[in-house]
Structure formats: structure tokens, C-alpha cells
Amino acid sequence: MQVLYFGWVKSRIGISKETLSPPLEVTNVVTLIDWLKGQGDGYAAAFNDAASLRVAVNQEVAPLDTVISDDDEVAIFSPMTGG
């Protein structure tokens, strides 16, 4: 599974992109985030404020309960500030 981070999510984790093989209990974005929180302090800090997180699955904005699998590209980021 390709996972990308942008904005302060990226800054806190310290990397912009990684290929992950999460365990079977990771079925949607919420459970992915829960699992990532245990991977280090940077992840815990990045995902601390769940209400401020935004998600895209396969480059489309998606809700946190979107079902994901190994073939998906998942992006987790702070609110977008374009324009």
C-alpha cells in the first residue's frame, strides 16, 4: 500500500511517502491511522488531532471510513490551502 503525507502530517512524520504492508486488521483509513500511531512518536503526533486530518484514496478526497486494500494509494494530510 502506497501511503503519502502532506502538510503538517508530513512534517511531523518526517517522510512524504512510504510503501506499507499493514496487518489484516487494517481495513479502512481509520484502522490504518490507528495502526500507524503505534509506529513511532512522529506518527502519534501527526495523527493526534483526528478532526483536522483529511484523506484521499486513489487521489480522490475520501471519508475516514473508506475501505482500503494493498493496491490503493492512500494520502493523509492537513487541510488543503490552495489558491
Binding site: 503519502l4 502532506f6 502538510g7 503538517w8 508530513k10 512534517s11 484521499a56 487521489q59 480522490e60 478526497v61 494520502a75 494530510f77 492537513s78 487541510p79 488543503m80 490551502t81 490552495g82 489558491g83
Partner: protein, 148 residues
């Protein structure tokens, strides 16, 4: 048409190109967003825009399509820069063209309102106190929701 690029753009050339050879256009509206040199009380020395390659182009194309569905437009242009910019630098250009002014003016405002909250860009400011990601603003969400 949409473009995502690091290079600057020439406002006059872009607007003139859109108007050229189309005498059905009666109104051309445009908006240019620029890097300011302060945020709140703090000086800003630079702003770095990052984006989500792949998704950005898709989202901008969706915005253009949505504008063309809502208004009768002859032309739409969105140019959005990324990378490291200085105060005074241009960030974004939106140009819309229509037979009558209402469609171009409204759609230009619509596009910039939606770009603020729907285009996958993030802004990192170099402030005196250190680097800071620009927060989304409540009033930007309100402005974007006005068009729903």
C-alpha cells in the same frame, strides 16, 4: 485549461491569449493570488507550496468542469504554481471568459473560493519565528460552502 507549474506566468499574455480571435467574448474576469509579506503580526520571508502531483491536476480539472457546467463560459484558465516563492510573487491565476459579464465574474469567484479548500496544495511559511504551515481558515470554508 489547467496548468500546475513552478514557473511564473505572464498575466497579460494569458488573458490576451484567451480573448484572442473570439469575438463572442464580452467579459473577461481574472484573479491573481500573491504572496504577502506578513501573516498576522509576523514578517514572512518566503512561502513554499507543495502539492499532490496527480491529484492536483484531477482536482483542478474537476473545478474547471464544474464551472463550465454551472455557467456558460467561453474559456476557463487556472494556473497554479508550487515550489518556493517570495513575497510579491504570483501564486495562482484564474481567468474566465463569457459573452456577458455575470458568468465570468461569478465563475471566477467560485473557482478561487473552491481552489482554497479543494485543491491539494499546502503552504509552508518562513516566519521570523520559524517555519509554519498555513492553517485553513474558517472563512474560506464558509466561502466555499456558499457555492454548494
Amino acid at each position: 485549461m489547467i496548468r500546475v507549474q513552478t514557473e511564473d506566468f505572464d498575466i497579460g499574455a494569458e488573458i490576451t491569449r484567451i480573448g484572442a480571435d473570439n469575438t463572442e467574448i464580452g467579459g473577461l474576469a481574472s484573479f491573481v493570488g500573491l504572496v504577502r509579506d506578513y501573516a498576522g503580526d509576523e514578517k514572512i520571508s518566503a512561502m513554499t507550496l507543495e502539492h499532490y502531483p496527480g491529484m492536483t491536476e484531477k482536482e483542478l480539472f474537476k473545478l474547471e468542469t464544474e464551472a463550465r457546467e454551472r455557467w456558460d463560459l467561453q474559456e476557463v484558465l487556472i494556473v497554479h504554481r508550487y515550489g518556493r516563492l517570495k513575497p510579491g510573487d504570483r501564486i495562482v491565476l484564474v481567468v474566465t471568459a463569457s459573452a456577458h459579464r455575470k458568468a465570468s465574474l461569478e465563475s471566477c469567484q467560485f473557482l478561487i473560493d473552491w481552489l482554497k479548500t479543494k485543491a491539494p496544495f499546502w503552504k509552508l511559511e518562513d516566519r521570523e519565528s520559524g517555519a509554519k504551515w498555513v492553517d485553513s481558515r474558517e472563512q474560506d470554508t464558509v466561502a466555499a460552502d456558499k457555492w454548494v
